[in-house]
Point group: C2
Amino acid sequence: MSILVVGSVALDSIRTPFGEVEDILGGSATYFSVAASFFGDVRLVAVVGEDFPAQHVDFLASRKVDLRGLKRVPGKTFRWKGHYDYDLNEAHTLETQLNVFQDFDPDIPEEYRDSEFVFLANIDPGLQLRVLEQVRSPRLVICDTMNLWIETRRPQLLETISRVDYLLLNDSEARQLAEEPNLIGAGRKLLGMGPQRVIIKKGEHGVIMLGKDVFFSLPAYPLETVFDPTGAGDTFGGGLLGSLSRYPEMSEDDIRRSIVYGSVIASFNVESFSCDRLRDLTTGEIEERYREFTAITCF
Amino acid sequence: MSILVVGSVALDSIRTPFGEVEDILGGSATYFSVAASFFGDVRLVAVVGEDFPAQHVDFLASRKVDLRGLKRVPGKTFRWKGHYDYDLNEAHTLETQLNVFQDFDPDIPEEYRDSEFVFLANIDPGLQLRVLEQVRSPRLVICDTMNLWIETRRPQLLETISRVDYLLLNDSEARQLAEEPNLIGAGRKLLGMGPQRVIIKKGEHGVIMLGKDVFFSLPAYPLETVFDPTGAGDTFGGGLLGSLSRYPEMSEDDIRRSIVYGSVIASFNVESFSCDRLRDLTTGEIEERYREFTAITCF
């Protein structure tokens, strides 16, 4: 099953209470791709500059990510610099250099336009709409977003949301977009904007999923050390959509199982900088942690 | 099975975004007793003043709460005045009048000293120790606490904790007592202080339970409106210990089921001021919400 992701590939500089790194592999589409590659065939659309290290391209290729949609253009790669204090739920941005991402206009290669599963990573909702115009008849589209677009591109964002199947966002974004402090109430309001499902990421508190007449709540995997939370949401999305792509029916049970797989991959990802923990992650480890999720939640 | 609770019986004045009330029935031992009374026989030890309305005594008696340990003494009843803003996780105290509670010295009636289950509600840990000296051989003791005692009575609190079976507290208290920002790490440190189990209440995010080699996480019941969170923790404790008192073995499954029952009762309690929602609550409603907890968490 073919999974298309459109988003950023970046070089991040990050400081957490546990360490500091410069220009490491990052970006929403990167994290999503690596996570989803454990479950299905991923096609990536993004842009990098001339300075983007070949070793990162090699790594993505080693994960069997289809890179025909990864454009290399003159200029510097998108860079994000931030830090986390002891409250690892909150990222503090120090600097954002859009660089080549400034003029990113997602041109979906012809051979990607039949993709069955589409992930619109966190980019300008106008660009997300442009992607939707180019794909032919996807079975499932998930879109992510962020506070910047809620504040500056609300009409375009509402248009995008009305045209996707699942909306994925974090708790503060859900409250902000719905203009409703109660998270359950916010989720219901967002459902009213069009998507079949609203999935709200709550960081260390897990995730909730709302649909018409259904509700699911999954706690987070109990980690004593969150080394670097960067990419948690995107690896969750990759695990979720990757797993979903394996189920022909996408039943309620399949959706819930896929939310657990998303949480499993995200829980591994935050154990190291970049997606380093995913480099040598095995399917055995994934299944083992899935079973642990069962053990810690069953009653 | 006999359940002993020692704590406060109070008159609360509360303002929430949904309304404002004055001198309503409150107090940790009140909330606990009413909640536990759905599952077992409760014995109450507390003190009130001459102004304590007879109707409240009648209500507790109607719940079959044994009131031989409720002392009425000259003076005014303990009063708490507070408000909640839209973040209903945080209570803002406006005024605390200890009144007759100032000189509360829990004298456990002889006929209560054989109690099998003991709940040390949130009172001075020195008084909690005094209770432990008087009960003979309880099967299970749970103690609750709060930031005030963590800050002002740490040695006595540590002594109490080392002598109880389960420690119950909220997330910020757990971090403060353990001096550890990561909640899972904090829970492990608290386990090291002596109790078999540490149960951490996270408000709208549910509850986690840690034991030696076991971990359980339960999300909160999804409420669109939390009318008044006062008493949520104590009704949780009442449902938990009440339910546990029904299981002779107190197996891991029994403990988990009891945590769900605690969450069920607490979720009803926050739907109204005081314990008003519990006045006409039926066992059918409790069982129905228990099944809903299963439906929203299973995968």
